[in-house]
Symmetry: D2
Subunit: 431 residues, 4 copies
């Protein structure tokens, strides 16, 4: 217990330090400062130079930012001819000295620049934000992908899983962090503070986030969890504002009903799989009665897929769903069929949320019609939702089958549904 | 203030997590486990596999460790011919896709293995320890330097300056950490708990250490500081056990009298320069009366240098010092001469402590005879010591001159001493 | 720094303990449990018995609560005849043994009962809540005042000033505590979370509360502070939702614009004076530019006083104010007159807020018309407000003059206003 | 978790505050300052006055301290005649107003003075120290017992059980606190830091202390615990410096082998009973395998009792023990007899440690010869020791029987031993 406290002190220090560095503006332009940071001057005055460059960058306009990234991309690139030469040499000699030379040659200078920029406190977040700018420019300037690769390489190293910290978000969390949870929720919007309280305060609700020690005020990803008696089939019931909370010890099921990535600048560096595993471990310990871990997930591209169907068997059912006249059974059958058979060119599921959970080793457990009456739910999937089941005894096997053979694991119920004959049965009219 | 507390909580979590992972032994051998960790299985079960490999490694004997490092060195090396080919391709196309391929090709597989090993809590320290084993083997197996380069590359990334945390060590520090300070003190041995109290408890003493969030119980480097009224000329007086402490507000000088690196596995990744800068900044804030920052440093290779002299002018003085018959002036003159003129083949100072402080931008301020009566002090330099002065207004300039031109900055006093005519004056006999 | 952390740990423990005690219901009724708690059984099983009694009390209905307080009041009263006898004895002997007997005799048994009830964690707050019940009954059952005296005696001891903890409330405060700030704000209602953010987040806003270690989730009293360039004359401007915040270092004045007591059960135990002094000390340290400490206070009973005027000189002005036709000057003159001359029977100011600040040693600095356009501001004082000035060099003297001689200290401006000839000047019509 | 952290922050504040108050010496003498503190001036300037008085007190010499206590004792005493009058009045009227008057009259003015002295941070500890001075004077000046009664009354209120905080002391505890543990250990002296490490660091050792939030650096009482496989019969084995620690999960028994009160100034305010109960609760939770809680206790007055025996049956055995020639059986029989039959005038056990544990509801479980070979162990009991057993199912009943009927509960073994026929058997000579 106290050990943690000492550790806690460690981090407080990080903050306190921030004040000491900053400031003292250097008159040189950003390129000269970058030169200085890479030179001998950078070794002894790295903190100051890095701070100045980051401050200078913050003041650049769009065009200047583009120019800066082009500088990184071209001026600070590798010398490929040189690499080829050294590599050939190494292939022959296997000499460590040549290997060092090869390592040096193969690493673009911009990597060292970015590493040196990451010295002042707060820099890590600024570099993550810098990548947001870069990603925006990528479409119009695809050659910048080279620079992006180096960003990803470094961010992956800095955000190594071993450095992530799982943290419960609850009603004792500082308002400053809660504000961010509201802002970053990407699946089921949080309307206001009362809505937030409904998701964090009741005894049958949980929320967990990953943080990184060097940007402690910024959640990286978070998941909202409902503890329930049974596997739920509707997000509307789950988020209703006049439901009666369950006593914690009566909960049997943990439902992951919303997972949100918070940092666009960390796109491509995945934390979701680890988050779910850690939260499963955490809840298994703290709520020993819980033995089932499922999601209640949106099916974001189902509507798009429905519209794209041309097969004679599917078109009537798809249309009845799109028009809102389909029965629940039809809805569920089509959702099942979509999840099991809708594929991308590479043979993986068409649905991104399905790819994420199946890739984590989960299996498709059940599909529901009329489960999400929100505008977004209607748009994405005409209100259909799906439970992915995380059965810890099977996740490794499932993951392997999915990763190597694109096999999608589903419950018998969902399998049966997905092959059901589709009748264009319509909803009973409200008589 | 509370912000720090939230941050502190972040880190407590790290610890708590440790318990959840560990355990569950896998029966496969370490190489099969490494294969698994690098494969699809590693993506979903990385924590478990990494833990198993680290546990397995801990049980290897010397020969098996060597075999393991040779496996890393050969099996998980780069394919140099392939690099050469891709580099040539890239030199022509500058295509981002080829660049990715080049990056991939140029990175030895062992880097990804080490990165994946660094997932469980506590892994970072184990990897630092693993490098200690590697360094031991390096002499007899110089080809392993290739693997060491990758260790250094990753450790440098993980121990990025921005992630280091400065922490004061004092009488409120947990005993567990203090035990380590005693163990790691490398300059002036700490005899027992009373000796430690004398260095941490009095109002005119300070100690600061760097820590890393992912190995919070292990100091990386620490410095012991005495606050004094004047620049001191003797470590004996400084560490005397019956001195009267100075009131904090009467201190004018901060004396860095001992700097110890704690982790052999981080050899080559330097924290000393940053530590001194941070401590100077910290003390400038907390003790505004202090305006002078100096060291009281050993001169570790002076005796060795004296013995190696062959110049007619120097030999008599050197001998008189080695025999213990030299006067103080002779001692000081020779110490000054050694520090200013004793050079390695590359033109840098022969003395490693001098290289460190001059490389940080400090200057040689004064030399003292009879300053360290300990056995070690006698052996290293016949009791001579030196003050390096950190003048924040000059450190950048000094560093640059030293780095680019090997210029050694010294006070007028020391310069004069270093050119003084050496008389073989001997100590006055105690009449 | 770490010292505090150890201290912090102390308190965490308090919480953890809570779980261990509770529970195990005892079948005896509340009176038998009280008997048991006062007996030998109470010495060894006090925690359990106290918990049971407090749980039992929570389930009592109104009538049963009354019966319980009457039991405390009569059954657990002193034996006055016995006191008289022992006191007479002591007057003669001055014997310590008799003194002990006298102390025992003079202390009602209910005091020991309440002390023993205050053993389980959380009990302190429950006893404060118990007094809320008692205060409600007091009007209809004035004899219970005897029991209330003992409550006050003990609460005063437990809430000794030395045990209070000043804590800044800001945007890093847990939501749980912020919810309470919203609920307890008694002067200028906090509408919603955005309104709260406006009071806590900007750099020119502060809020401080007192807490007690044994009820750490309950603020006792809090004050909201605005940092401003000049002494403000209107709460509307201060709380406006589109103002531009001041940079912290440009603030010259700290304005206490809202002070709220949170615990009805602590009525009569005053924390306001200490809170203001501590906050003045705290702000003097953290914002050295601030040299003026004032309130911007309501004048809650001014309207009532205006309505009660019968003096020929005052009635026209009073009426013009009540009707809303008075000029600013008339408003200010009447406000000044009210504050300086409106008295209770005991010679102290009629206005309770005036009594509070003058009793703390503040002085009346300025009065403002049209300063509070809220419904409540209209009702209380037709929008008039007042600045009380805390000049640390004068507070002791002012307090003494006020406490001993009921002297009201006011600025020359306010004094002049208060004697101004009252013309029934009306507001200029908006032409 | 975070809730505790907020709480922790509360207390850090206490410390920070300390700096703001202190200082500013007042020229008046201590009596005038006391007058001022009790007057109107005290209400507004209490912190400053209290600080000045406490600083003034610290500078008093022995005679001046005596004078100060005599002032408290006489000048600030009650007016007994007045009490008698008011009590008579109240006996007739039962009027709350008279009751208030009676309360006021019955409380010596020194109580209010002490309460007001307890305002600055750190004052509580100074008042505890003040009582140490008072206790020293009590023998020569028994009339001061009146003042001591008021100290006890207030300290009991301030150190209410509900305010105590249980804290584990281990190798993560700050050195500052550990220094105090070494200093206060009263049963088995801690020789040096290595000895301390042996008591805190191994997995089968525990130490717990009570702290009070207002003197957080001062333990009030602490207990050292050994976790063992069986009930131990010798302190020598328990504290041996080359024993092999037990794995935590193999421990079945928790042995309280040393309990030390730390604050002389809190004499008469007992924490030991609560400490043992809390530690039993804590260990039951954290080490579920442990089902037996015993002490290994000294028998401090056994030697004194042996020397005082005059009964023909006992004298030979007593002498053989005192001379060191008794067999183990004789030792144990006499120890059992002493513990069960040695009584004070009031019928309670002669042995103070026995009174403490039996009063807590423990029972005598076993006695051991040759269990403590230290000098002190020899002096107190010729090396005999005793296990008191805390059986949570019986402690209440045992306590009640002991408190009301002085019944001493002992195991059958010890009962049988205590009535064994005493033969003057001597130790077998080492052949």
């Amino acid at each position: 217990m106290q050990r943690n406290r000492f550790l806690g002190d460690l981090l407080s220090q990080l903050f306190d330090r921030s004040s000491t560095v900053r400031g003292k503006d250097d008159q040189r332009d950003i390129y000269m400062l970058c030169d200085a940071l890479m030179s001998a001057e950078g070794e002894v005055s790295g903190l100051r130079l890095a701070s100045s460059i980051l401050a200078r960058y913050a003041d650049l306009n769009e065009d200047e930012k583009l120019a800066f990234f082009q500088y990184l991309n071209s001026e600070l690139d590798v010398d490929a001819a040189h690499i080829a030469k050294v590599a050939t040499d190494y292939a022959e000699t296997k000499s460590p000295a040549v290997f060092i030379e090869l390592c040096k040659a193969a690493e673009p200078k911009r990597q060292e620049l970015l590493r040196r920029l990451n010295q002042p406190f707060g820099a890590t977040h600024l570099l993550v934000e810098m990548r947001v700018d870069l990603l925006k420019l990528l479409k119009a300037h695809p050659e910048l992908a080279r620079t992006d690769i180096d960003f990803v390489h470094l961010l992956r190293s800095w955000f190594n899983r071993g450095f992530l910290v799982l943290k419960q978000i609850n009603w004792d969390t500082p308002a400053r962090i809660l504000d961010k949870i509201v802002a970053y929720e990407a699946v089921h919007q949080i309307d206001d503070w009362d809505d937030l309280r409904r998701r964090l305060y009741p005894p049958d609700r949980r929320c967990f986030a990953f943080f990184h020690p060097s940007m402690p005020e910024e959640p990286l990803i978070f998941v909202e969890v409902a503890l329930t008696a049974d596997i739920p089939g509707s997000i509307d019931a789950l988020l209703s504002d006049n439901r009666t909370p369950l006593e914690e010890d009566q909960a049997k099921v943990a439902v992951f009903y919303s997972i949100s990535n918070c940092q666009k600048g960390l796109t491509g560096i995945s934390f979701g799989n680890l988050l779910i595993k850690q939260v499963v471990a955490e809840l298994s310990l703290s709520c020993p009665n819980i033995d089932t871990f499922v999601t209640l997930s949106p099916i974001p591209l189902m509507t798009r897929w429905l519209k794209a169907q041309e097969d004679d068997e599917l078109v009537p059912a798809a249309n009845s769903i799109l028009e809102g006249s389909a029965s629940s059974e039809t809805m569920r059958a089509m959702a099942a069929r979509y999840l099991l058979t809708g594929k991308r060119g590479d043979g993986l599921p068409y649905d991104p949320v399905a790819r994420f959970h199946l890739g984590n080793g989960a299996e498709i457990h059940e599909v529901h019609a009329g489960a999400d009456s929100s505008e977004n739910g209607h748009k994405q999937s005409r209100g259909a939702m799906v439970n992915y089941l995380y059965n810890v005894d099977h996740t490794e096997k499932n993951h392997e089958n999915f990763a190597l053979r694109s096999t999608v694991k589903a419950s018998r119920t969902v399998q049966t549904l997905s092959t059901a004959k589709l009748e264009a049965k319509t909803k009973e009219p409200a008589s």
